[in-house]
Symmetry: C2
Amino acid sequence: ADVKKIAVIAGDGIGPEVVAEAEKILKRTEEVFGFSFETEHALFGGIAIDKKGTPLPEETLAVCQSADAVLLGAVGGPQWDNNPKELRPETGLLGIRKELGLFSNLRPAVVFDCLKDASTLKPEVLEGTNLIVVRELTGGIYFGEKFRRESAQGEEAVDTCAYNVTEVERIVRQSFEIAQKRRKKLASVDKANVLETSRLWREVVNRVAVDYPDVELEHVLVDNCAMQLLRRPSSFDVIVTENMFGDILSDEAAMLTGSIGMLSSASLGEGSFGLYEPVHGSAPDIAGEGLANPIATILSVALMFRLTFGYEKAADAIEKAVAEVLDAGHRTADIAVDKSQAISTAQMGNLIAAAI
Amino acid sequence: ADVKKIAVIAGDGIGPEVVAEAEKILKRTEEVFGFSFETEHALFGGIAIDKKGTPLPEETLAVCQSADAVLLGAVGGPQWDNNPKELRPETGLLGIRKELGLFSNLRPAVVFDCLKDASTLKPEVLEGTNLIVVRELTGGIYFGEKFRRESAQGEEAVDTCAYNVTEVERIVRQSFEIAQKRRKKLASVDKANVLETSRLWREVVNRVAVDYPDVELEHVLVDNCAMQLLRRPSSFDVIVTENMFGDILSDEAAMLTGSIGMLSSASLGEGSFGLYEPVHGSAPDIAGEGLANPIATILSVALMFRLTFGYEKAADAIEKAVAEVLDAGHRTADIAVDKSQAISTAQMGNLIAAAI
Ligand SMILES: CC(C)[C@H](C(=O)O)[C@@H](O)C(=O)O
Ligand SMILES: CC(C)[C@H](C(=O)O)[C@@H](O)C(=O)O
């Protein structure tokens, strides 16, 4: 059989718990669909700092590089927050994105029926919201030169934001292609009235758009987008933007769905390789108690099946299983109305696996 | 009497209409409170491009510089959107901020009773929301070096974001002082886990905080702030942040109140000088029809009275007059439930003036 290699990075906080449930799903699909997965665990983030003295050890990078895909739980926690930069979990996160060439972060923001009321938005505004934010992930101000210098006004800090045509074009093309398979609408977000990088961005978008005449394109200024996401979330289909704007807008979009604890994400590079992870964080406050909701991580496996392996049917089966278990009324504590009826992380994983 | 000089910039679109009503309020307060204002009109924005070939003519700058305060309507419109950079209204906007040293933009986001239902947020989430975003306005990526260059990956664009200690300290101190006069809570927003400018920002905030022990300080990452504004808007009091983040977050905050058409803003420099303007734009689609709502501009006059002139009582009187007219059920088209009952821009101005 065609063996797929998956690097598994449990990470910190609730990471190990939710990843364990996602692994049950991998096993289950081996049985049901005859897949064959070879998983290799690797240290990353806070736990790697503690055990190896660096958030992204060489071995971990090697494990990822020799894999077809990476499944990531979550990283970070208060005990590493005051570390020097090289010893912080997020430095590992930026490093792994760059080293693996993961230039595109896909963040679907969808509303789960059972969580409709969890949103702070009115239900009639939220109705029909199903968008995806495509965030450039290896360029811009995140990776530009950074330094301090003396100035007449005291110490000065500098960050540099740079984008070249190639970087913009690949993510923009990918976004048009994603839009073609969805509702055929693309919103490109920039600040072209102020930033040179945004003007380049917009030029490239307009040039590339010619190749996708079936996709309706709009340019939206980032400040206006922050407003329109609130005013008319359901009118967006695909939103593409640069790294820093994407960081802010993807979180805003996720939060307005009310479903942030259940959202999955994919970070893609050239070819089919990808890193998959839940949108939620490491939630150290509830770690180790079996309270975490594994659904976002399980749905990240479905994304992996679809985008990296082309296992469409199995991806559908996972998503259907999740829907079924939720429809049957099962809830982990975070999404339970009556907390006393909540099931554990492992129980939720078992139910979903069984439903496949 | 103490004559106050006010530079009046009507600008484009509905700018002239709303400013005309604000001037009625100035006149009315001269009668009622014995003030004495000397107003001088100046061209700015699109109309200045058309008449003078530049969005910010020298004379306009001179008029502002010799005034005690500036009242601005709105600038911009589609006819200038494709102009080269030097001939765009927003270039004038950035220029006037820099030339007048307006380093601080204050954007109160409050909920008007009569507009509670206009928000897309649930009323129970919005309840009690009354925050102010203090945005740094003359630094950061807006004003850093910008250029294009050739790279191995094709043309490359670069923007530079810089902040020095002096720039950060003055806005942070101002924010602490504003917080002291309000609910004594300050949220400083940055991206210190990624940006060097944010790390400098946070260092300065922590150092300055020692002088304001009565203010409760929290550091919030910008992506998290975009979420928390949606999740718990009423928990914020004063939010201070750098230019680009402030652009995005102040618009998000304004939109979530549902009252965006009624919000005023102040841009301040050293001393008491300030520029006051409504948050809404030039709305070219309804310009010249008497449909515009002058309340945001009238409330900008109240802000001017309070922050530049120290006319507290008159500021209160303006705000009270606005509330009274709204309570009596008068509405311009934008906020009317029954549009056929809507009153005109001038009628609204007259009613508020009369109520003072
Ligand atoms: C932890 C941080 C560096 C990271 C980012 O800003 O990219 C996070 O916010 C994210 O969105 O994955
Ligand atoms: C027009 C634009 C340059 C301006 C800005 O980004 O500062 C506007 O969005 C604002 O917030 O006043």
